[in-house]
Point group: C2
Chain length 311, copies 2
């Protein structure tokens, strides 16, 4: 951890807490103990890097999730940005902010962080710990890719696909906000997202031209992808894969799915993908040239996604 942890840590409560986490992580934590971590990017590959914050009261509420789930979810959500680029993870840095009285949560938080890191086949290379008014986890993910996917490569004629089934996180949030208990399957989609890392690399190898992960909602991500690629997108509303018990609106406008929206040829071998991963891959639309009389907004659905500053 930055400036403090690992080999040669001095005395003090912060160091003791970091030591405890390092013990729980075991081999999952690598090379921690210097002011910064050292990593090697495979020759011929580019470094891919992103940072993402998960803040109590904004991205989750503590009575919705176990501390283990809070840790797992924060890191999985950050890793999803590497999936969107079809990158292979090299390591993560975890910056924890924790209210003074809450250090008892740390063992479970550390276990959840470790679960997400292990599931992605990567390691923890550094981090930071501080006291704060509320619990937050800021995760920086490092990866590499020979030919990273971006959101700007979609071309007219491509088909648009989405992984998984959408609407679960929105349904869980709707239940919690109404004081109800979400259906187990919906809660699971919110509490334990799975970054589509391996799936993304398969899609990139299969010729995908652009990708983005669905953190702000399908409708918003379609707009982002269309704007970045300079194209127009026609979504087919009937085809949007809505999770059982979820709503169409939740599937289009709800965020925090961490599924992938991908542009690729209409001939993409969807059956091979589904056979390989057991994850649905659904064609939801078509990429069209941008015409002078339209902007980049997707048809069918209006503005969607969420916005941390306005809610």
């Amino acid at each position: 951890m930055t400036g403090s942890a690992g080999v040669g840590m001095g005395p003090g409560g912060e160091f003791d807490l970091i030591r405890m986490m390092l013990e729980r992580w075991g081999d999952l934590a690598r090379g921690i103990g210097d002011d910064a971590a050292l990593l090697d990017v495979p020759r011929g590959e580019r470094l891919v890097v992103s940072t993402d914050a998960s803040v109590e009261g904004r991205h989750f509420r503590r009575h919705w999730l176990t501390p283990t789930e809070i840790g797992q979810r924060a890191v999985a959500a950050a890793l999803s940005d590497l999936a969107a680029m079809a990158a292979t993870p090299l390591g993560v840095l975890v910056s924890l902010a924790l209210p003074d009285g809450d250090t008892g949560l740390l063992p479970q938080l550390a276990d959840g962080i470790g679960q997400a890191v292990r599931a992605a086949g990567t390691v923890i290379v550094g981090g930071n710990m501080t006291a704060a008014a509320e619990l937050s986890i800021t995760t920086t993910v490092l990866g590499s890719a020979h030919a990273p996917l971006t959101r700007s490569g979609a071309r007219a004629g491509d088909a648009l696909y989405v992984t998984g089934r959408l609407g679960g996180p929105a349904a869980a949030l709707a239940a919690w906000n109404a004081g109800l208990t979400p259906a187990g399957a919906h809660r699971q989609r919110f509490a334990a997202p799975a970054p589509r890392l391996v799936e993304a690399r398969w899609l990139a190898r299969a010729g995908a031209t652009a990708a983005i992960d669905i953190s702000d909602g399908l409708a918003a991500e379609v707009e982002h992808l269309a704007a970045a690629s300079g194209v127009r997108v026609e979504l087919d509303p009937v085809s949007v894969p809505v999770m059982e018990g979820a709503t169409f609106e939740g599937a289009c406008a709800g965020g925090e799915e961490y599924e992938l929206l991908v542009a690729a040829a209409a001939t993409l071998d969807v059956a091979a993908f589904m056979a390989r991963f057991g994850v649905p891959l659904t064609r939801v639309g078509t990429v069209l040239p941008r015409s002078p009389d339209t902007d980049h907004r997707a048809r069918v659905v209006g503005r969607g996604g969420h916005d941390h500053f306005s809610r």
Copy 2:
């Protein structure tokens, strides 16, 4: 910024705020707009990466500093970890958390972040923005080095040097905590630290064997370096460079200096360093073999440094 900003940003308040910052940063922000940033590590060099949080009420108080200083200081402190490794910065990611009512601070915060980035000759490659209960800036710094300095390379016979003059930040904090106005020079040392990036690379080329930045206080950092290197250190208290008007105790135990503690041969050309940079470089001690009857603690000074979880 992660998942949202730059090319192809959709509608929404968060995006507007990010757009505003990107406009202020101009050429300082590079390649933002995809789910993750792409960077290239120079061939033959290793990636050096660290993350650091600066939290209101923990690392600074808002009435102590201008928003510009808060931004500048957060990024400078994070870059100091690259200096400790003698790395050259490749880019930074800035994760901002801001109370809902405080978005008016953003232009100045952005300017301060930009100042620190420009002064280090680097760029902003990504980030994140969220609402939160208190203002915080979590900065991830990426750099590269052919032969990074670590804290574990000090050898018996080396001399121990420190850059700059210490005690200014501790004196400023003591004044603020007593309800007084700090001396301008002390305040400046707290408000506008300068990461010793170029100085560190000079020292590495001149044969330094180990380095650490002084974020937790000289005494604590001496302990960290001694423990990591498996050596003992004898500090000469009379030689510690105390800033005018500061106390010896503040110079030894006060943190947030962002100067460097460096092990190198006793023949290091101190005069050449000072002529080149106009920054003091002072021999403060000697590296000795660890003897069976002593632990790694430095002599002279007891435990020092600060600890975010215990204060």
